[in-house]
Symmetry: C2
Amino acid sequence: MATIYDVAKRAGVSKTLVSRVLNNQSGVGPESKKRIMAAMQELQYKPNALARSLVLQRTNVIGVILDSLTEPYFFDVIKGLEDKVKENQFRVIFCSGRYDRREKETYIDFFSNGVTDGAIIYGSDLDDADLIRKRAEMSFPFVVVENEVEGANVNNVLIDDMYGSQLAIDHLVDRGCKNIMHITGARRHKASLRRWQGYLAAMEQQNLSQYISVIECEDFGEKEGYQAVKAFLQKHRREDVPEAIYFGADNTAFGGMVALADAGFRIPEDIRIVGFDDDKPQNLERKVKKLTTIRQPLYQVGAKAVEILLQQIHDPETPRQKIVIKPELVIRETT
Amino acid sequence: MATIYDVAKRAGVSKTLVSRVLNNQSGVGPESKKRIMAAMQELQYKPNALARSLVLQRTNVIGVILDSLTEPYFFDVIKGLEDKVKENQFRVIFCSGRYDRREKETYIDFFSNGVTDGAIIYGSDLDDADLIRKRAEMSFPFVVVENEVEGANVNNVLIDDMYGSQLAIDHLVDRGCKNIMHITGARRHKASLRRWQGYLAAMEQQNLSQYISVIECEDFGEKEGYQAVKAFLQKHRREDVPEAIYFGADNTAFGGMVALADAGFRIPEDIRIVGFDDDKPQNLERKVKKLTTIRQPLYQVGAKAVEILLQQIHDPETPRQKIVIKPELVIRETT
DNA sequence: AGCTTGACGTGTATCGATACACATGGTAAT
DNA sequence: ATTACCATGTGTATCGATACACGTCAAGCT
């Protein structure tokens, strides 16, 4: 690759002039400018981003670390991120921590060693909290999304999961349900825990404490939901089946609904269902009904995270922010 | 952030010694080494990746440009990439061209300006070919996946789509079908075109030219498949409906099957279906039958791309390679 | 004793860009 | 005519690391 020096030599000027042309600065005569431009063309010159960033102490790139690049859950977040970043003339690069704490750590260090101006760390694993606390005092700007890190001074964008649960329960109560069961999402998932908590709080607030019952799922796949419900139905008599189930994740809800359908339950006549996430399209070929669910405004989450991060980058003195975004109830066919 | 110089000062030695410790080189006394390590600890020193890469002319990072990070199609590819990269002690960063040719170009330039050692460009848009041809003569190592760029000397990893079509048609013929229709995936999609071509070739080879009939879809969504089939059924009498449909993508097949079911067709008794891709899990709550399809070994595709790229990086003189990977027939319930 | 050898250490050039101080010359203002 | 000033241009330090040539000193060999 040609360097700035090659261009200068070819155009018969000093590096400084070439640099000025590159950055549209004044101080270049028209004649020189023409020769420099020509030289750049001929040599196919592209400035080396590394060298430039090294001296500018600025890359105009932000890094995003996700648990997985292949989780539909992140789709809207990613879109939000990308749009906002582009709007601000930055670039984003993504990488996936693959649900591995150490891998995540490696990437955070990589990003903070000059490669990016800041990072967005998306995480919901309980493990992550530690890793983040350790880095809270760094001067490297970053924003943590979804995972609330108690007692650490970090930028945080969160979904109000407890409020979401309240929406779900209140809606079911509106529909006349009292006996409302909760089937959690993934146990290791911080957000699931908060939804669970929210379920408990909402049930108490509605004076339905005696109906509280919870099944824990290890993961938030369809299979887990299917098995959880199936096992429950095998162990209980028909009249003990609740009037409604509030699932901590849409995925488990889909699985659960299949199990219910298999057992002859009609939805919503016999039992009502509410999910949480609204992260997957309601496809044509789904056997189950369209799901009433708590939608997370994930696009906004992504956009907001970028916004905060850029503020922090432009002015490191900006105090750390914590943004809580409220989810909303989307009523479809299952309630 | 502390620099190598700060560490040296604190330990009372020269930068060189610190650098040697950093890189596990010999030439450092035990006493100095201890002091240097201590200084690093205290200062939380992390070497600046930019500066290091600038002098080494090496980043140990490869960049991946996809059309979209949010397409299930890429999931296995991504996994293959990640595993292989990790195995080789490299890092990957991803970014999405968002189906926009210029955005892709920006990222290629970004990657080739020192930020990465090489790139993998995943693309199937017809537009991409141009962009790639233009860069074929660069010394920057890259591998193009899926998009065949005719007449350009580039590293290429491809799926043998024509062969896939042949598998599909031969299988249907085995099942006794003659009148086999083809519904394409996305029109702008290069791979779709090849599958279409493959369909034509396979039909001729089977002496079924008189049965050739094709419906083009603009995109490969479920909706497109649904509408295509629905429109066809409205315009044709029942006896004109073919014995089988070979879809250029699973997604369209799913949509099409819904339309067929709505119209009272039983699969596979009344009509047999074969798809292409096998990129999505056959979920529990799918209304439709499990799909017979042509599976693309996408994990392998990703892994192979990395392999070729790393060869190219380690030895730039390696001749450019073109790898064609054969897909395979997966027989499920629809044939 | 004289010499090689290796361990340990320092100083300086380098990667490819930007920033800044400074040198030149011509034109406008006094 | 003299000063001031701006446009144009050059040279050198700098960012944070590595590489390489070289200096010093003690141990081991003939």
